[in-house]
């Protein structure tokens, strides 16, 4: 009852103040816009706005950032679906099936599903956040240490190996390429310099955002340009057909599963929405009766990814507000907003600034609801971007991708990496390797290496230590079973299957993104 009353009070405070309403809608639209433009993500908007929040009240400043967070994560899905350019890393798995859907003339359906599932995932996680922030945060940090996070990463990689590649071997090779790229730069534990080739900028490592932009946006432009030259280019068909209620209800298990996964990943400090989206997508593939249809335009792929990444937004606020532990870059910036107003997120916020917390909770709830409203209204407009002829669209995408790659860290090497990834991705996609697997190997590799080293230090370099940690053990066993299952599928089922799923020489046209 207290929760309900607090929520009502937060809502009244939010909507009884004209400035608050203005900032709320500014954040909703700004987050969606910046989320939708590749490179200039919600983080860019947040970085621009950070100094100005000093002139806002604490409620308005923190509310603005939390609203940008919710809508920005959704906004990135639009370009992922329409142009194969994830607006943010957490939208990358959305492109795996969203872009093929656009190519199949189902752009409206994909964007509509993204709208509904982003809103749903966000609303549910916000409600859970409102009900149980403190106990969940305490449980998460005590139950999930480096050994558990490493085990989670291992499980994720085992599942990911079966996503998108033509064969078992190509799936694992794709993951391993990603893992190899992830070790470039400083060793995250000992600070040892690796594979820098005397180039100081390589010490910063290979960032996954330029890699994603290269693999997805640049290589896609190469693919389409090749088709244009060969005369086989076909503009994506326009469609504004939204998914029917029946279609969404048919995926109810995928939605629930992705909410659980997204929420779970979101509450772990330093993990966040990107892993949530990949895990949500991977699990959709793993649980599917027709996994071979993923990567070719399956609605469930979009639903799983977008539900999971928005479910992570509310969850990420839990460690931030309850413990002062930011889960990602945007929540870390929120710490800055708190500090500008002489406040620190953490247990004292609930004690000293309960009003503020409930205004933020209410704002996040309504921001997720507004995704539904504004998302549907804007979808019909945004889909018209597909009418732009390829020769005009491609340079615009390249320009945006280049700006986006540079904007991550202000390093020219990231632009070089993006174009290299574009060329490499162009050839890999033709030969049945999974660029999604490489990206996932890169993202999870960095987390996995660090948590593995930390886990070994914590377990005093004894493998048997994992047996004393039930959650870690469970995840490792699940990963091993997944691995065994894919080996079995690759070597034994193949013999009885008349049509092999993989080939070194795939038929034309080349497999879509992620495949």
């Amino acid at each position: 009852m207290d929760t309900w009353n607090n929520f009502l009070q937060g809502t009244i405070t939010l909507f009884s103040d004209p400035i608050g309403i203005l900032i709320f809608f500014g954040g909703v639209i700004g987050g969606m816009l910046f989320g939708a433009i590749p490179g200039v993500s919600m983080l860019t908007l947040a970085a621009i706005l950070l100094p100005f929040t000093a002139h806002l009240s604490p409620e308005h400043g923190i509310m603005l950032f939390s609203v940008i967070y919710c809508t920005g994560v959704y906004g990135g899905a639009i370009t992922a679906i329409l142009f194969n350019i994830p607006g943010a890393p957490e939208n990358a798995p959305t492109a795996f099936d969203g872009y093929p859907m656009t190519q199949n003339g189902q752009a409206g359906k994909a964007v509509g599903a993204a709208v509904m599932c982003s809103a749903l995932g966000g609303v549910v996680s916000t409600i859970i956040m409102m009900i149980a922030t403190a106990p969940i945060a305490d449980w998460a940090i005590s139950a999930f240490g480096p050994p558990e996070i490493f085990a989670l990463v291992f499980f994720g990689l085992a599942v990911a190996a079966s996503v998108g590649a033509k064969t078992f071997w190509k799936g694992w090779l794709s993951i391993l390429i990603g893992l190899m790229v992830a070790v470039v730069g400083l060793d995250p534990v000992g600070g040892i310099e690796r594979y820098d080739f005397e180039m100081p900028y390589l010490l910063a490592g290979i960032h996954f955002i330029p890699t994603i932009l290269g693999f997805f946006a640049v290589s896609e432009i190469f693919v389409q340009a090749e088709k244009k030259v060969r005369g086989s280019y076909q503009a994506p068909k326009m469609s504004v057909d939204f998914p029917s209620l029946q279609e969404l209800i048919a995926h109810k298990f995928a939605v629930v599963r992705s909410i659980v996964i997204g929420f779970f990943c979101g509450i772990l400090p330093g993990i966040g929405a990107t892993l949530a989206a990949f895990m949500g997508y991977n699990e959709a593939v793993r649980w599917s009766k027709t996994p071979e249809e993923f990567g070719k335009g399956k609605l469930e792929g979009v639903i799983s990814s977008e539900t999971a990444n928005n479910a992570a937004t509310g969850a990420a606020m839990i460690p931030l507000l309850a413990l002062g532990l930011p889960g990602g870059a945007l929540t870390a910036m929120m710490v800055g907003v708190f500090q500008m107003h002489d406040m620190e997120p953490g247990p004292l916020v609930f004690l000293n600034s309960a009003d503020l917390v409930w205004v933020v909770f209410a704002a996040m709830f309504f921001a997720n609801c507004s995704i539904l409203l504004i998302g549907f209204l804007e979808t019909k407009t945004i889909i018209n971007l597909l009418r732009i002829p390829f020769q005009f669209l491609a340079p615009m995408i390249l320009l945006l991708a280049t700006v986006g790659a540079y904007a991550v860290r202000g390093l020219t090497i990231d632009v070089v990496v993006m174009f290299l990834a574009g060329v490499v991705g162009f050839f890999l996609r033709r030969s049945g390797y999974s660029v999604a697997g490489i990206v996932l190997g890169l993202i999870l590799g960095k987390i996995g290496e660090q948590t593995f080293a930390q886990a070994m230090q914590m377990l005093h370099f004894e493998w048997s230590g994992f047996f004393n940690r039930p959650i870690a053990l469970l995840l490792l066993v699940a990963g091993l079973l997944t691995l065994c299952g894919s080996i079995y599928g690759a070597f034994f089922k193949k013999a009885s299957a008349p049509a092999p799923t993989g080939s070194d020489h795939p038929p034309e046209p080349p497999p879509p993104a992620g495949g």
């Binding site: 000992g190 900028y201 330093g270 800055g336 202000g410 230090q457």
Partner: protein, 342 residues
């Protein structure tokens, strides 16, 4: 123990300089500078760029933001912060060194630049290869435990408990090779005879979460970074790594109280410009950054981060002395640790 004896001579100067603890700062360090200064030849005519070798949300990002704001408020000149994280500050330093020496670029950097030069002299020496404008934060470290910890309650019982674990006890840390944290831990374990496993977390949030969640037994950190946990009563300091107790931690034992005979190492952050910048521009930058240190907004920020417990201000000469002492101190330690000093 051996380390401290060899290093005592050089470190005493630093400790004495830094340990003006418990001093009330009624007057700010750069109050004696003029309140205004003419722009030399119209410089600066455009915004300055501040290269920050770390992300915007961490300690360096925050101090860069606070100082940029203070300088802008004082001079009316805008400062664009250019964050170039990666390589423990190497990437930002390399990018800064490649920028023109025209006075429009300044660099924020921490003591890592000094320790990197101490380990490898081909890396820039901030005292001689750059011109320090101001050091605006100097802080010390502490060892923390959870407030609700029931296995030990203070430094003595902690050391006793750690020794009983035969190397199984853990402490969260940033234990990169040659880092201030790793070197200080070496001092502590040698001085006490305890064996403790350091768990390396390069980011603050997971490091603090590890202690709060009971994944590790203790935490090595600077007080400003964990202030919210201290104010919330979640963490409790059990050792201050200073020779004397600062006023804000009067009930926490210092090195002297704990009978630990080594010289403390400090974390410091400051601002630099290129060596080849015209002298009159350097003078203007020195005035702007040193004067901005005393701007109320910057002082308020430093106070919120426990950065006024020991004197944080160093002018150009003071910063050079601080760096030279630190480099000498680290070199000695590295050789003792068997690290290859280039």
């Amino acid at each position: 123990m051996k380390f401290s004896k060899n290093l005592a001579a050089s470190a005493v100067a630093l400790a004495a300089m830094a340990l003006s603890a418990n001093t009330a700062y009624a007057a700010c360090a750069s109050d004696n500078l003029p309140s205004g200064m003419d722009k030399p030849g119209g410089y600066p005519q455009r915004a300055l760029t501040m290269v920050v070798p770390y992300g915007p949300a961490g300690g360096s990002g925050q101090v860069a933001q606070a100082m940029a704001q203070a300088v802008s408020d004082l001079t009316g000149v805008s400062i664009n912060r250019d964050h170039k994280p990666g390589g423990s500050g190497t990437v930002g330093m390399t990018a800064f060194m490649a920028s023109p020496a025209d006075g429009y670029s300044v660099l924020e950097h921490i003591d890592d630049a000094s320790s990197a030069h101490a380990l490898d002299s081909t890396r820039p020496n901030p005292a001689t290869d750059l011109i320090p404008l101001v050091t605006s934060q100097i802080t010390f470290s502490q060892v923390y435990i959870r407030t609700n910890e029931d296995r030990f309650s203070d430094w003595d019982s902690f050391v006793k408990w750690v020794k009983a674990q035969n190397g199984k006890a853990t402490i969260a840390n940033v234990s990169k090779e040659g880092s201030m944290e790793r070197v200080t831990m070496k001092f502590m374990t040698d001085a006490t005879g305890m064996k403790i496993q350091q768990i390396s977390f390069d980011k603050g949030a997971p490091r603090y979460g590890a202690l709060a969640g009971g994944q590790v037994d203790a935490l090595f950190e600077q007080p400003g970074d964990v202030r919210k946990f201290l104010d919330a009563g979640k963490f409790k300091p059990i050792l201050t790594i200073l020779k004397e107790r600062p006023s804000a931690f009067a009930d926490v034992p210092s090195l002297t109280d704990a009978g630990l005979d080594f010289e403390p190492l400090f974390r410091f952050r400051g601002f630099y410009t290129h060596k080849g910048v015209p002298a009159e521009r350097v003078e203007w930058l020195k005035w702007a950054f040193q004067k901005a240190y005393c701007q109320p907004s910057y002082q308020k920020y430093n106070e919120s981060k426990f950065m006024t417990l020991i004197e944080s201000f160093r002018d150009t000469a003071g910063t050079q002395e601080l760096i030279n002492t630190t480099v000498k101190q680290y070199r000695g330690v590295y050789k003792q640790m068997g690290l290859e000093v280039k």
